[in-house]
């Protein structure tokens, strides 16, 4: 566990929004989904996941609803709102600009 890389700062919200854009999930499902899709590379700590979900709720980017899981347990499911979808778009484009910029800096100028 100790050697796993941390998430890039500022990307947690985007990852959660993207995950929820696929389907409404409960908190555990969000963590699991991020872990599986990243082939166990990215682990979302519970200590950051739940505060982040509350922040997103407050911003109105997701909404929450108590529902039954398939195993008949009550869980809070989060759904992306229209505002959340817009925000995801904004964050994705910012992220791409950032990655592209970092890429340009890191690439060897001689190769160009």
């Amino acid at each position: 566990m100790a050697n796993k890389p941390d998430l890039l700062p500022g990307t947690l919200d985007m990852l959660i929004l993207k995950t929820l854009a696929r389907a409404p999930l409960h908190g555990y499902g969000v963590a699991l989904s991020i872990k599986r899709l990243s082939d166990d590379v990215l682990t979302v700590e519970e200590g950051s996941l739940y505060p982040a979900l509350q922040r997103l709720l407050l911003q109105g980017w997701v909404k929450a609803e108590w529902k039954m899981t398939e195993t008949k347990r009550r869980a809070r499911f989060y759904t992306l709102t229209a505002a959340g979808r817009r925000q995801l778009g904004i964050e994705l484009s910012q992220y791409e600009q950032m990655i592209a910029a970092i890429g340009r800096v890191l690439s060897d100028p001689k190769e160009a």
Partner: protein
């Protein structure tokens, strides 16, 4: 907008913190359980899996706190905001005091009306399991049943655990060396089963006490009577008290706070109803037409109101089938107890709800007022806000500060309003209206009042706190700092505060309209043709049964009193009757046309209020005899029955004014000859439509209840009448000192009860109207001064360039006039619509009365003028050189 929503969401979380935290806990527990299952699937034992999940998850409490903090207010910033708000208020104490006072009055109005509404309408009777107690009623306007009907209902129903009859009566109680007129209940034996209270001392009346007349001569005292008349004697049980001169044994005392089953009466004694004949000297237990009692019942467990109503419908139709003649068309309705069923309850409820709406309007107007002030202040702070934003404050932070200030003001106002409301309700609960009835309103303030005040304050704070929202959101640091003092936009566009002012004036205009409608109605009732002249007359009332008289001995006493009182100096006319029009105790006679032979109620022509009057009564009361003769002492039970009727009686029964010598029939089937006709009047209520009425000769049928009427010569100051009232009292007591005199005073003052609802309405509505006016004056004045100040520079330039006074005024205040007239017009229209609510209590309430419309328009015009006269003066006396040099 989203900053505001976020603020409200945070506030929501703060208010429902427990729910919020519980949900977080549940969510995290779910997370741990899922993780544990994952581990189990991976081959761990359940125990090890749980431990691993816990380890991975970490400290749950800390996690919960982290999540909470992400969305909670930070304590430090809240304290900062509070400190800033207090500084802000201390910097402009005038604003703070105005704001708190305005808001406190607005909230207090709501709290007081809410308190009354709660006590009289919302709160059930103060008895155990009060939701199960209901009143039974004959029809919408008739609460009374006969005792026999009550017995049929009691024995025929299957939905109540107990059904009881009760009747409010006046008694003469001998205590502390005198006979006191008191009020009490005659109750059937089931009464205390229905209310199911526990006695403070002794026991309460039981079924055995009421089994048959004379079963038990026992009485239960109220806590108040025990305290006032018997000095809280702990050994009162078993002692004998004299009620109407009859010895009754005290068997119990009811607990403090039990006021019987009508919310506005406070009785002193409870006695078995079976003993009614010996107490009242008149037996009404056996007659089906003696509708004298109220019925109250307790639902059985598991029975709901529709089931009870269905059962009563069956009972009613069974009674009608058994007695088709006497009980034709009988209905029994289940109604809410406490306010005489729907008779008084329905209009009282409608009126209180209307007043509550008006109080809400006043609070809205106060919020609009403060919102305008807040918006204006924020406009002044544009530069400050811009600087704060430029150095890194967020809009959200600034909005929070404004809201904190609003909440602080609302909190102070809420505290003041609670104190005010508490004092007002305590005063109201201790107050007795001017009548001989023991009317007293159980409106003592409850702790829930503070909750209500808090709620009203919160709503108000949000309402006026968000007014400056747009300004804060639109504040552009660059723009504001560049252009210097916030000149931009002032007076160009229609600002939010303009709309607020118009809205506020409209709201205030509604309250003013309602006040004028009520005043006009009261004025009408005071000048109404009553059919008698209460001015310059004295009316003394007492019941000789309370001093132990029978109806025969009462008749001879009344004759002796008449002879003695006629000798008093200053008497112009004198007479007596068993009751007088508009007094509390009214009875009525069933009237049939002379051709009717089958005296069943379906053949009834109409019911008419009846009075038994002595010769001279009509002259003393000032009731004009139109034709025919007065009654005489020669019209006795042995001579042919005669009566005097009013003009409406003739019109209704014979469709003509020529009725002397004609006959009508009563329930007994005996024809009664009409010997005189008097002018129409008001008999039961001031609001009633013209009614037929009958005056029988008192010598024909004796009565112990006595209303002596003495007319004195005209005296505008009323000294003669007051002296006469005292002389009459003395004359009565000289003849028999044991008579408990209920009333001996100027007649007009005794009509207070009839005018009571209209007076209460007028006082309440006038207060609201005055408050509304005050708000519209301060609001208009504030905005007018503000716009003159804001545009001082522009106006100076105009003056310097040669603008005329008229042009200056049009520029500076033209918009104010437009706003005032728009607001007033809308308010007047709404007020006219709203005043229909008043028709339940106010005589001929209508806002479409030209006098009312004119008065409202004039008032609004005058207030408008008063509030802008000062700003106008300032605008006209601008010294352009001075202003331009300064800036």
């Amino acid at each position: 907008m989203s900053t505001l929503i976020q603020f409200l969401k945070k506030l929501w979380i703060l208010l429902w913190r427990r729910k919020f935290l519980n949900e977080l806990d549940e969510e995290m527990a779910f997370h741990r359980a899922q993780a544990a299952q994952e581990f189990i699937a991976g081959g761990m034992t359940p125990q090890a899996a749980r431990a691993a999940a816990m380890r991975q998850f970490g400290n749950a409490t800390k996690l919960r706190e982290q999540s909470h903090q992400a969305v909670a207010f930070r304590v430090e910033t809240v304290v900062q905001d509070l400190r800033f708000s207090i500084r802000q208020m201390l910097r402009s104490p005038g604003f703070a005091v105005t704001a708190v006072t305005t808001l406190a009055l607005g909230i207090a109005a709501n709290v007081i009306v809410f308190g009354v509404l709660q006590a009289l309408v919302l709160r059930p009777l103060d008895v155990p399991n009060a939701g199960k107690v209901v009143s039974l009623q004959r029809s919408r306007n008739d609460t009374n049943f006969s005792y026999l009907e009550f017995r049929d209902i009691r024995d025929g129903q299957s939905v109540f655990s107990a059904v009881a009859a009760d009747r409010v009566m006046d008694f003469g109680l001998d205590a502390i060396g005198a006979t006191h007129p008191i009020w009490g209940y005659e109750v059937s034996g089931e009464y205390f089963e229905v209310v199911s209270i526990k006695p403070l001392l002794g026991r309460l009346l039981a079924r055995a006490d009421d089994d048959h007349p004379g079963a038990a001569e026992v009485a239960v005292l109220s806590w108040g009577a025990w305290k006032n008349y018997f000095n809280s004697d702990p050994a009162i049980i078993g002692k004998t008290v004299r009620l109407n001169k009859l010895p009754y044994t005290v068997i119990g005392v009811t607990p403090q706070g039990f006021y019987g089953t009508e919310k506005f009466l406070q009785p002193d004694v409870f006695v078995p109803m079976s003993n009614e004949a010996e107490i009242e000297k008149f037996n009404w237990l056996d007659g089906r037409q003696n509708h004298n009692i109220w019925a109250i019942a307790r639902l059985k467990e598991g029975i709901n109101l529709p089931q009870a109503q269905a059962d009563l419908n069956t009972v009613a139709s069974r009674i009608t089938k058994q007695l088709p003649k006497e009980e034709a068309g009988l209905t029994i309705r289940v109604v809410r107890p406490g306010l005489l069923g729907d008779t008084f309850g329905a209009p009282a409820r409608a009126f209180l709800v209307g007043i509550m709406a008006l109080a809400g309007i006043v609070l809205l107007a106060a919020c609009a007022n403060l919102g305008g002030l807040f918006a204006a202040r924020t406009a002044d702070r544009t530069r400050e806000l811009a600087i704060r934003m430029a150095i890194g404050s967020s809009r959200y932070r600034i909005l929070r500060q404004v809201l904190t200030e609003a909440f602080l003001l609302a909190l102070l106002a809420g505290l003041a309003a609670s104190a005010l409301g508490w004092a007002a309700l305590s005063g109201l609960a201790a107050w007795r209206p001017p009548t001989s009835l023991p009317i007293q309103f159980a409106v003592l303030p409850q702790p829930s009042l503070i909750v209500a005040a808090g709620l009203f304050s919160f709503v108000a704070a949000v309402l006026f706190g968000i007014m400056p929202l747009r300004q804060i959101l639109n504040a552009d640091p660059n723009d504001a700092i560049k252009s210097g003092v916030g000149q931009s936009g002032a007076g160009r566009r229609w600002a939010l505060r303009d709309i607020l002012l118009a809205a506020q004036i409209a709201l205030c205009c509604i309250t003013v309209t309602a006040a004028f409608v009520a005043l006009r109605g009261l004025g009408r009732s005071l000048n109404m043709e009553l059919g008698f002249q209460p001015a310059n007359a004295v009316r003394a009332q007492f019941d000789l049964a309370q001093a132990g008289y029978s109806s025969e001995s009462a008749a001879s006493f009344q004759r002796r009193l008449l002879a003695a009182a006629s000798q008093l100096p200053g008497v112009e006319a004198i007479g007596y009757a068993n009751s007088t029009p508009l007094a509390i105790d009214q009875s009525s006679t069933a009237v049939f046309s002379p051709e009717t032979t089958d005296m069943r109620l379906t053949n009834l022509a109409f019911g008419a209020p009846d009075y038994s009057a002595s010769p001279g009564y009509l002259a003393a009361a000032g009731t004009p005899l139109v034709t025919g003769r007065d009654v005489s002492f020669a019209d006795t039970a042995k001579s042919p029955p005669v009566a005097i009727v009013n003009q409406e009686f003739g019109r209704r029964l014979f469709h003509t004014d020529q009725v002397i010598g004609r006959y009508f029939k009563t329930l007994s089937g005996r024809p009664v000859q009409i010997v005189g006709v008097v002018a129409d009047g008001k008999y039961e209520t001031l609001n009633e439509d013209p009614k037929p009425a009958i005056f029988f000769p008192i010598a024909q049928e004796g009565n112990t209840t006595t209303a002596l009427v003495v007319r004195t010569h005209a005296d505008p100051i009323g000294v003669t009448s007051r002296d006469m009232a005292a002389a009459i009292r003395k004359t009565i007591l000289d003849l028999d000192p044991a008579i408990p005199i209920q009333e001996s005073s100027v007649w007009s003052s005794q009509l207070g009860l009839q005018l009571f609802p209209a007076r209460v309405a007028t006082v309440a509505l006038s207060l609201f109207g005055a408050f509304g006016l005050l708000l519209s004056i301060t609001g208009t004045f504030g905005l007018a001064s503000y716009s003159v100040t804001k545009r001082l520079r522009e106006l100076s330039i105009r003056v310097a360039l040669g603008a005329q006074a008229k042009q200056i005024l049009a520029t500076a205040l033209g918009r104010m006039l437009v706003l005032l007239s728009i607001g007033s017009t809308i308010g007047l229209i709404l007020g006219a619509a709203a005043s229909r609510l008043l028709s339940a209590v106010v005589y001929q309430a209508s806002a479409l009365d030209p006098i009312v419309l004119g008065a409202v328009a004039l008032t609004m015009l005058l207030t408008g003028l008063v509030s802008i006269v000062n700003p106008v003066r300032r605008a006209l006396h601008i010294d352009p050189a001075g202003v331009l040099r300064e800036q």
